[in-house]
C-alpha cells in the first residue's frame, strides 16, 4: 500500500473532527450548539472556520478530509479556545437579550453577532456582571448603517462638477490607451479545456494548476477584452448576447449617472465605486474615495473592466462555461467537464422545483412565471453579471484568482447562487398568484 493510500485510509471528515472537538468543550456553549450538542452551522462558518481554525492561513484545515495529525491539530486548536468559546456564548446570550429589549429585528442574529461575540471574548473575556451598557453600544454599532458614511462621502465628492470633468478627461485618455494585440487566441482556448476539464490523479491536478498559471500570463483575455472596445467581429461571442454590454462594440462608460440595472460593462464609474463601498462592509482598510474613483476610471477602461490578468482570464473562462448552461434544457450539450457538472446540478435543481410543484415539466406551471422562465433560458446573462461583480470585487481588493481550484469553485458557486435566485423567483411568482 502506498503512503497516499495510507493517508486516505485514516483521513477523517473535517466536520466530524470539529464536532468531536466541540463536544469536548462541554457545557457553557449551548447557545452556539444545535439540539444534538454539535456546533451550529453558523458557529462553524462564522467563528470556528475563520477565527479559530483560521482557514485562510491554515489551509491544511480546510480539506474535506484531514489526516490524523491534522485532525489532532484541529482538535487541539478548538479545545484550546474553550474558554473563549464559553465567553463568546455568554456574549451572544447577552446580545440576544439586548436585541430583544431594544426591539431590534433586522438581520440574522447568529450571522451578525457570532464573529463580534468571539472578538469580544478574545479581547474582553466574559461579559461583565452586571452589564455596563457595553452590549447596547455593540449592537448600536452593528446595526448602524456601516457603509453609509463612505457612500455619503462618495455622493458629496461626485456632486462636484470639476471632479467629474477631471475624471472624464482621465477616462478619455485611458480608454485610448487600451489596444488589442494580434496574438492568436487558439492556445488560450485550448488550455481552458484542461483547466475546465477533469483531473483524477495528483499529477493531473498539478498539471491543471500549471496550465492555469500559463493562461493567466497569456495575452488572449486582454486582447479579447480590448477587441470588444473596437469591433464585435473579433470576438467568438457577442458581448450583447452574453449580457455584459448593451452595445457592440463596447463604448466607454459614463463617469456618473445611469442605473443599477445597467449591464456590467456599461455601469458608470461612480456606480462601480458605490458597489465597491457597499460590499466593503466588513473591511477596515478602505482606500479614500478620490483614489477609489481614479482607480476605477482606469479599471473601467481596462479589458473587461478588470485590471488584473487573472481576473480577465477567469471572466473568459466563465464565459466559455456560461454559454453551455441551460437549466431547463434536457438536451443542452457542454464542451467542458466543469460545465457538464454544473449543468447536471442545475438540472437536478430544476427537478426539485418540479417535485415541489413550482414548475410543470420544465415549463411554467402558471403563465405569470413565464418571464422568469425566459430569463432562465438565457442563463449566461445573470451568470456573467454575477461573476463579473465578484471579479470586480476581487480586482478592487487585489484578491488573486491564481489558484485553479479556487477559480473552479468560484465558477461553480456563481452558478449555485444564480440558480437559487431564479428558483426563489419562480416560487415567488407562484405565491403571488396564489395570494392574488
Amino acid at each position: 500500500m502506498s503512503t497516499a493510500e495510507t493517508a486516505v485510509a485514516v483521513a477523517h471528515p473535517r466536520r466530524a473532527v470539529i464536532d468531536r472537538a466541540w463536544r469536548a468543550i462541554g457545557p457553557g456553549v449551548e447557545v452556539l450548539s444545535g439540539d444534538d450538542g454539535g456546533p451550529l452551522r453558523r458557529t462553524v462558518k462564522r467563528i470556528i472556520d475563520p477565527l479559530v481554525l483560521r482557514l485562510r492561513s491554515n489551509t491544511q484545515f480546510s480539506a474535506p478530509f484531514v489526516a490524523a495529525d491534522v485532525a489532532e491539530a484541529m482538535y487541539d486548536t478548538i479545545v484550546g479556545q474553550a474558554a473563549q468559546m464559553r465567553a463568546a456564548a455568554a456574549w451572544f446570550e447577552l446580545l440576544k437579550r439586548e436585541r430583544r429589549r431594544l426591539r431590534i429585528t433586522s438581520g440574522n442574529a447568529q450571522e451578525l453577532y457570532f464573529p463580534v461575540c468571539f472578538e469580544l471574548a478574545v479581547t474582553k473575556g466574559a461579559p461583565a456582571q452586571p452589564d455596563s451598557g457595553e452590549a447596547e453600544s455593540v449592537l448600536r454599532e452593528i446595526h448602524d448603517d456601516r457603509d453609509r458614511t463612505a457612500i455619503e462621502v462618495l455622493n458629496t465628492y461626485s456632486s462636484d462638477h470639476l471632479v467629474i470633468t477631471e475624471l472624464g478627461d482621465q477616462l478619455r485618455s485611458s480608454w485610448k490607451d487600451v489596444r488589442a494585440g494580434n496574438e492568436i487566441t487558439g492556445p488560450f482556448l485550448s488550455g481552458l479545456t484542461t483547466v475546465l476539464g477533469h483531473a483524477d490523479s495528483h499529477s493531473a491536478v498539478a498539471a491543471r494548476q500549471r496550465v492555469w498559471q500559463a493562461l493567466i500570463a497569456d495575452v488572449t483575455p486582454y486582447n479579447l477584452g480590448a477587441a470588444a472596445h473596437e469591433s464585435a467581429a473579433r470576438l467568438p461571442w457577442s458581448i450583447v448576447t452574453l449580457g455584459l454590454s448593451s452595445a457592440e462594440p463596447q463604448g466607454p462608460p459614463a463617469v456618473i449617472g445611469g442605473s443599477d440595472s445597467e449591464r456590467p460593462l456599461n455601469r458608470s464609474v461612480i456606480d462601480r465605486v458605490r458597489a465597491t463601498l457597499r460590499r466593503a462592509m466588513d473591511r477596515e482598510e478602505l482606500p479614500d474615495v478620490p483614489m477609489l474613483c481614479e482607480e476605477e476610471v482606469d479599471r473601467c477602461c481596462a479589458p473587461w473592466g478588470l485590471m488584473a490578468e487573472d481576473k480577465q482570464a477567469t471572466l473568459v473562462a466563465g464565459i466559455e462555461v456560461a454559454v453551455d448552461l441551460a437549466p431547463l434544457s434536457e438536451t443542452a450539450t457542454t464542451r467542458y467537464d466543469l460545465a457538464r457538472q454544473i449543468q447536471a446540478r442545475l438540472r437536478k435543481e430544476a427537478y426539485v422545483l418540479h417535485a415541489r410543484r413550482y414548475l410543470a415539466d420544465d415549463g411554467p406551471i402558471h403563465p405569470r412565471q413565464q418571464q422568469v422562465i425566459d430569463d432562465l433560458a438565457a442563463f449566461a446573462r445573470p451568470y456573467l453579471s454575477r461573476l463579473w461583480a465578484r471579479l470586480h470585487g476581487r480586482d478592487v481588493w487585489q484578491e488573486p484568482c491564481s489558484d485553479v481550484d479556487d477559480v473552479r469553485a468560484l465558477l461553480e458557486g456563481v452558478a449555485r447562487s444564480v440558480s437559487l435566485d431564479h428558483r426563489q423567483r419562480i416560487k415567488t411568482m407562484l405565491e403571488l398568484q396564489v395570494a392574488g
Binding site: F65, T105, G363, H366, P367, R368, Q433, A435
Partner: protein, 359 residues
C-alpha cells in the same frame, strides 16, 4: 450509481408527485411518500459540500462514498457497489419528516368532494421552519427552501390569529416560532386578521342569461395536479365540467373547474381539443372560462358544423401539458386518507387538526 452525470445512491423512488424531496448542502434527497420504511435516494450535486454525510453513513461510510464520487461519473449509468455502507438508523428521520412537510404543503389532495380536509398552511410552515432550523447543519446559504425567515414571513399574521383560538398545541408551536423569528430577523407582533376565506365557495349563477344558448355537447374531465399550482383546485377526479354551446351561430366552449383552498385560478390556461376542432382560454378568478371553438385554420366554427362534429374524444387540459396519471392521484388519495384515519407518530400538527376536524 451514476445518473445523468451525477452520482446517486439508494433505491429508485417513485415518480413525482409520489416523492418528497429535500435539497441539502451538496445533495438532493428523495423518498417515496407512501413507503415510510424505504431509504431515500441521495443524489450528489456537489459531493465536497456534503460535509454532513458522516452523520448519516458514519465516518467510514462517508470516506467510502467520497472516494467513489470523487471520480467523474461516466455518462452512461454505472453502478458501484459500496458494500458495508449503510445509513445509520434514525439519522435521516428528521430530514425525511422535513421533506414530507414540504410535500404536504404542495401535494396534499385537499378536496371538498372527496372529503379530504385542507391542511393549515401557516401551521405546516411553522413546523417546517422549526424543523429546518433544527436541521441547520445539513443546509447551506444556497439551498432551496432552507431560509427559515422566508418560510415564516408570510404566516406571521395567520399564526397570531391561531393563537387567539387557544389550542394549547398551537400556542406552543407559535411560541417556538416567535423565538425563532426573533433570531432570524422578522417581527412577530402584527395584529391578527382572519385567514379564512369563505367567499370562494363555488357560487353558481351570477353570469347566466347573457345570451340564450343551446348545449351541443358536454362532458367532464380531471385536473392533473402537476400541471397546475398547488392550493387552487379541488383535488378530486372529474372536477372539470365543459360544454360546447352555440350562441349567435358560433360555437363557444365553457369550462368550469371546482376550486379549493386560498389560491386564485386566475390566468391558468385551458385547452380543448376534439379532433380537428379546439380552443384556448384562461380561467378567471371564479374558476370559469369561455372561449370560441375554432377549426384547424383558427376559424370560428359555425353552429351547424359544431352539431355535425363527433365530440366523444374531446380532451380538456387545465394548466400545463403533461402530468401524472389518474392511478397516481388515487394512490395519493389513499395515502392521505390513511394519514387522516390514523395520524402517524411523525404527523404534523396540521394533519392532526385536519384529522380531528374530520369526525
Amino acid at each position: 450509481m451514476s445518473d445523468s452525470g451525477l452520482w446517486s445512491t439508494g433505491p429508485t423512488v417513485a415518480p413525482s408527485p409520489l416523492h418528497a424531496v429535500l435539497e441539502v448542502s451538496g445533495a438532493v434527497l428523495s423518498w417515496t411518500v407512501d413507503d415510510p420504511s424505504a431509504d431515500p435516494q441521495i443524489t450528489f450535486t456537489d459531493p465536497a459540500s456534503a460535509d454532513w454525510l458522516w452523520r448519516v453513513l458514519g465516518e467510514d461510510g462517508h470516506r467510502a462514498v467520497a472516494s467513489t464520487v470523487d471520480q467523474a461519473p461516466p455518462d452512461e449509468a454505472t453502478a458501484v457497489d459500496l458494500t458495508g455502507v449503510d445509513v445509520l438508523p434514525g439519522t435521516l428521520d428528521p430530514l425525511r419528516r422535513l421533506a414530507f412537510g414540504h410535500w404536504l404543503r404542495r401535494w396534499w389532495p385537499a378536496s371538498q368532494r372527496d372529503g379530504i380536509a385542507t391542511l393549515d398552511a401557516a401551521l405546516l410552515d411553522a413546523e417546517i421552519a422549526i424543523l429546518t432550523a433544527a436541521a441547520d447543519d445539513f443546509f447551506s446559504d444556497d439551498t432551496f427552501d432552507s431560509d427559515v425567515a422566508e418560510v415564516l414571513r408570510p404566516h406571521v399574521a395567520a399564526l397570531n390569529a391561531h393563537v387567539q383560538e387557544g389550542d394549547p398545541r398551537v400556542v406552543e408551536l407559535v411560541e417556538k416560532c416567535t423565538e425563532l423569528a426573533d433570531d432570524v430577523g422578522i417581527v412577530f407582533d402584527t395584529p391578527a386578521w382572519s385567514s379564512r376565506r369563505d367567499d370562494y365557495a363555488l357560487a353558481a349563477g351570477g353570469d347566466t342569461g347573457r345570451t340564450t344558448s343551446t348545449t351541443i355537447a358536454s362532458g367532464v374531465g380531471s385536473v392533473r395536479w402537476s400541471a397546475v399550482p398547488a392550493g387552487v383546485f379541488d383535488a378530486a377526479e372529474n372536477t372539470v365540467n365543459w360544454s360546447v354551446e352555440s350562441a349567435d351561430d358560433a360555437a363557444t366552449a365553457t369550462v368550469r373547474v371546482e376550486l379549493s383552498g386560498l389560491g386564485s385560478p386566475n390566468g391558468v390556461s385551458v385547452r380543448l381539443r376534439s379532433g380537428s376542432l379546439g380552443g384556448d382560454g384562461a380561467l378567471g378568478a371564479d374558476g370559469r372560462a369561455a372561449f370560441p371553438v375554432v377549426d384547424s385554420d383558427q376559424q370560428a366554427v359555425s353552429e351547424s358544423a359544431a352539431w355535425g362534429h363527433d365530440w366523444r374524444a374531446t380532451e380538456l387540459t387545465i394548466g400545463a401539458d403533461g402530468g401524472e396519471t389518474a392511478q397516481t392521484r388515487e394512490r395519493i388519495r389513499t395515502f392521505a386518507r390513511s394519514r387522516l384515519a390514523a395520524p402517524a407518530n411523525d404527523a404534523y400538527l396540521a394533519e392532526i387538526l385536519a384529522a380531528e376536524s374530520d369526525y
